[in-house]
Symmetry: C2
Subunit: 257 residues, 2 copies
Amino acid sequence: MANDPSRTQRLPSRHIADELRRAIADGELSPGDKLPSERELAEKYKTARNTAREAIRLLAEQGLVVTQQGRGAFVREAQRLFRFGSDRYSKKNRESGLTPFRLEAKKQGKVARIEVVGIDRERPSQEIAERLGVSPDADSVLHRENHYFADEEPVQIVSTYLRYEEVEGTLLMQAKTGKDGIYGRLEELGHVMTDVREEVTARMPAPAEQSFLRLPPGVPVLDVLHTGLDQDGVPFEVSRYVHRADLAGLLYEFSVV
Amino acid sequence: MANDPSRTQRLPSRHIADELRRAIADGELSPGDKLPSERELAEKYKTARNTAREAIRLLAEQGLVVTQQGRGAFVREAQRLFRFGSDRYSKKNRESGLTPFRLEAKKQGKVARIEVVGIDRERPSQEIAERLGVSPDADSVLHRENHYFADEEPVQIVSTYLRYEEVEGTLLMQAKTGKDGIYGRLEELGHVMTDVREEVTARMPAPAEQSFLRLPPGVPVLDVLHTGLDQDGVPFEVSRYVHRADLAGLLYEFSVV
DNA sequence: TAGTGGTCTAGACCACTGG
DNA sequence: CAGTGGTCTAGACCACTAT
């Protein structure tokens, strides 16, 4: 039910893509297998190389294959997803001494590394300012940006925003925030995380994200805008999580009221 | 921080893309504005038309522009997102007589339409069978597929899976399920939705999804695998929601325990 | 070194949109 | 009708990978 088939047949690039797609679906080509080269496909179907190339591009756009310069095009391997559950902020998990990311990496037998990329005083975007309850017209937030790696492969970017006046001069302005991380320090400032609000969407990566996450074409990102609310219902922390969608998934479990 | 700039400069297609991206970021080109035609760009930058075309394709892949045959390429308009909150299963909302989708459409002043595409007895995929607790080797599920439209624009596909033996001969096999929809009937069968589990990921659409949702290239889908658990913690319903990521977002609000 | 994908040129015809 | 994007041809050179 994709497109009008009579038309698809007449477009050589679609025709080649359809045949390759079928071969993948039927298991003639398994994950990790190499596709025929562009030049081979061009010869087989009596087309220009560009046309065979377009067929492979269509499959890459759907995330079915990945290309590697100098090597070939390959059927994408299914990857085990990182799962971030809605219990990831719970005290119980905090007490393990491991952050959600380290916990998940450990489950998969991978080595977690977290890199602090920047800690800067900034003027917040409208989106952040609204949620944190600060002015969008002043340098009112502290922006901490972290990069997360599993076995040295980059998997997520996290930007955390805090009210600058509140954290000025505290450990929250340092790379090493001490025991229990930023949530530990925020508790000392009187904010116990009580409620969480997460706005989830997906989009194609910006160029900087694509290059940092080493994203193959055709892989979107999950964009999670997270707001932490304290015991008084006051927002005290806003973070944006950008995950590779092919490596990460989110898990939410909740009761219906 | 995108790519090596010295190299980017040497690749005409990237160079053109970068300049257009900057024009969009700086507001020289606003959402809805038409980009220069491929032929104009080719002339301006002294390249072949294919090269200018490649530049526009790069932007389309990132979701920054959309192309329309015979009209031109346009800066994508920001769209208000449909929001599906974690209270969408609550009794309170059910009592309004409106389903979550109708409620959200109403908020935006749009007309909701739901089309029942199919109601079939099927053999479930491994993924569905596991979550519903049925055999993957028999026709053990009833599959109801619905398409959702807002102002006649398709925005989501929902496939609901129920245990066949349990719903055989009930209204759940009909298009019209009666008051309070399928959840109303399932309560009569002894299943009160008590807990919900949602597994969220994103991916590029399959061809059938792309064509049904009329997705422009560069727009991913949000894929939500939802499991409903009853008062005894028993899963009784599994649904897969496929949303256009450029029109839909998810909102989860929960307390930290 | 041979083979691969990445990019580019300079054309061509088609299908669709709008005046 | 002219202008647009969609697709295609038949070449070319480059950068990268593997042997």
